[in-house]
Symmetry: C2
Subunit: 163 residues, 2 copies
Amino acid sequence: MTRTTPDPFAVWLPLARAHKAILTHVEAALKSAGLPGLDRYDILWELEQAGPDGLRPFELQGRLLLPQYGVSRLVDRLARAGHLTRSACDGDGRGQVLVLTPEGAEVRAAMWAVYSAAMQQAIGDHLAKGEARRLAELLGKLIRDDDTVTPRQDTGQPGQSAP
Amino acid sequence: MTRTTPDPFAVWLPLARAHKAILTHVEAALKSAGLPGLDRYDILWELEQAGPDGLRPFELQGRLLLPQYGVSRLVDRLARAGHLTRSACDGDGRGQVLVLTPEGAEVRAAMWAVYSAAMQQAIGDHLAKGEARRLAELLGKLIRDDDTVTPRQDTGQPGQSAP
DNA sequence: TGAAAGTCAATGCACCTGCATTTAATTTCT
DNA sequence: AGAAATTAAATGCAGGTGCATTGACTTTCA
């Protein structure tokens, strides 16, 4: 006998809609607070974790799951906004070192307040603890192994949150 | 006492990653089959359902949850690709009527074969029926009411699948 | 009727993304 | 050492997206 499998669209439709709803909600909250979009959050967070030694773009690339040119341009925008500094990397003439500025840290903190509150509204307020746990577990089954990030210490204010 | 709520990020992170993984998988399958991206699928499907009478752009807008200019441009691309025809709308001089071409129908059918198979791989193969049902149910709790589409008869080949 | 308000659709502008390529430095290998 | 291969990062180009505005037509209503 052939084992029957579920209709994938019965999962995909609500998954896509939930994703869109949450993202829309959070982005709207950030925008109405005059803050940058979610795409900038993770990089600020990673740089904050890295501290004054900073990070190289290619290290960021590994952590953020962005293509090389994506990092290059994101870094460029952040630098123009004054949220990070680029400086030559001694020991490797090709590279550069990225360090968060104080302004960048302030922006990240302000974003976190809005971001976490919006997520709480969009998700936490709609699920009981047990439901959330089960949902996370089921979603985990859908994640393919090949796009996994280099693990990092958990410190409470997650990265990897961008679309 | 205050009721405790779950950590929203414990849900958001796997949700975002599952969404991305599925989308990447499906888009890659379509691309490697030389077919248009997922964004075009739903509109082709809606037009196919509408039959020879076609649809007005603003009707599409309601069904697809796209902004007005999004529909305008998507329609423009589809028209240039020969997948639909635009013709003046008698009775309303502002509007136009969109009708699927035979080529458009062929493309949609070809997309469906790839699309549904890819979804099966990305979702169906990873979940048991009961898990899928529960997952869909939990995701439903996260969908805000304000971005709901006008309901349509279910005919087996879903729209509303785009990112 | 005819002016004001509303609706349908397109578009200019700025910005973002993917792809492929380029530039420049470094590592590997003989 | 020196040529070849590899790696770091930027960029030109084509296209996609959001926002605000415009143009054209229709409806409302005094």
